[in-house]
Amino acid sequence: MILLRLAIRSLISRRITVGLTVLAIALSTALFLGVEKVRTGARASFADTISDTDLIIGARTGGVQLLLYSVFRIGNATNNITWESYEDVISQPGVAWAVPISLGDSHRGFRVMGTTAAYFDRYKYRGGQDLTLAEGNRFDDLFDTVIGADVARQLGYRIGDPIVVAHGLASFTEHDDKPFRVAGILAKTGTPVDRTVIVSLKAIEAIHVDWQEGAQSANPVSADAVRGMDLAPSAITAAMIGVESPLQVFRLQRAINEYREEPLMAVIPGVALQELWEIVGVAETALFGVSAMVVATALIGMAAMIFSGLNERRREMAIFRAVGARPGTILGLLVLEAALMAAAGAALGVALLYTGLWIARPYVDAAFGLYLPISALTPREWAGIAAVVAGGTLVGFFPAIRAYRISLADGMTIRT
């Protein structure tokens, strides 16, 4: 097809302007698809993070906030719940199991979570999958820890390595008098568990025995001495609860929400996630809108580029007319040119997207705990690509119609 070949040659002969235009379309397409990939990736990864837990309880706050800090380790609890209330709540009929969680300390940027051994049995992710140990054992000694896969990989920890827990999330004061030991390393899950240092609730209590109001007291208790003490926790951050029958979830939730001794709150993880999507949905729509505008800008830029070249291409159009081309052929050629640029831009955009995903994935994983799957294009994404090409073709009609008029007016003689 000689016209297609000529259109491609013509584009190549203007490679700098055409290249920049295609690059702009490619970047905008990559951004557009990237937003979509991150959105679906984030949703999938959030939804996969917790399963088989019926209720999460914590101090009264927003449902989304409770879910975020207890399960996703995003943000902080403003209040704890007392151990008495916890015991009281879980002794209610219908509660099948409960796992307490205590958060607040950290280790080199990773959160430290105190819990009971039941956590390893009760925490499920991605449709009921169990946590498994890649190496070592669950904790046995008071100062044993089990670390997530990312903690082990990023800090290079092996079984038996010592770990010193820092007080709070970003502080320089460390519980260095009571070092821990890595007892087990969990297999990668793609959830925030990978980025968590798990210790026993008692250990959390033990390292804080001699702490008051954020500072260690003048008479520290040694690591050995603490073993002899009563390490029953006085407070926890949250708890995961399973019920005996799904029918009891709402009744139990209401009972906890109306608990008199202390302001408590219970959320159903799925419902809280749904709430989260509603909040995030606004931002998603905004992001989608912005990225679509960026694509539109790139396409309009392409139309402007074609427009600005029309005058110096009048000779070319006259040649086409002289050899027998109809004005409609000239219109078609310019539309074809726009479509080719849009298609090249979209194709390059997809390549950029996957390169970008491939490069950014470890960083996004490390920074946000979001493991973006590198998956094939979804029908929705294909539709987006088709929209870019269709939009480019449509936009191409504007300069093409102008060229049609010029070629009708000029004929073979170019008026200057």
Binding site: I2, L3, R5, L6, R9, S10, I12, S13, R315, E316, A318, I319, F320, R321, A322, V323, G324, A325, R326, P327, G328, T329, A409, G411, M412, T413, R415
Partner: protein
Amino acid sequence: MTDPSRPTTADAIAISNLRFAWGGRRRFGLAVDTFSVRRGETVFLFGESGSGKSTLLSLVCGVNKPASGQVEVDGTDLGALRGAARDRFRAERIGVIFQMFNLLPYASPLDNILLPLHFAPERRQRCGDPRAAALDLTDTLGLSRSLIEHAPAADLSVGQQQRVAVARALIGHPPLIIADEPTSALDAGAQSAFLDLLFERVQAFGATLVLVSHDARLATRFDREVSLSDIARTHREDAA
């Protein structure tokens, strides 16, 4: 030349009572009462700049349509054809050579030569193998094959480009060749060499040639020389 399907009586070009005016601010108008060119004739058309020579050629080529009157090419009244049919007619029957910038600069000379065939299926058929026909032509026009097939047309010298334009006009043997000042970009030596080639080819194919120039010295080679002012009246209307 001896195609029996065509009435041999018809002239290559026959114009009668033609009236035409350009649109736009300075409406240039052209009127030709009668003008005809016999088949196989070579005609030299001259006139001063802006007198309407190119305008007349574009009417003969059917790129523009007369306001009234007839322009017949090979017995076909162009005014009676619809736009697309006129374009097709031009593609099939007429080879056009301009003053300069005849070629699509980004395409290879070969693609430039083959381009009219895309719009003219019958002319393409007449070629047999279009590529071979194009290379035959360029061989006789003294253009090397490597130059024709690979370099973009913009890399050719002006003289080479004009020869490629001749090949494009001649491919598939259209009966009418229209040349609008094809030599004015060439120096004197190149001019006469170019005309030698053009004449030789046109006569070999028995085509009709109408060549426009304002250089009267070229006229001697032609069967007939025509001054535009003798056949046409022009007027200019300077709109407010």
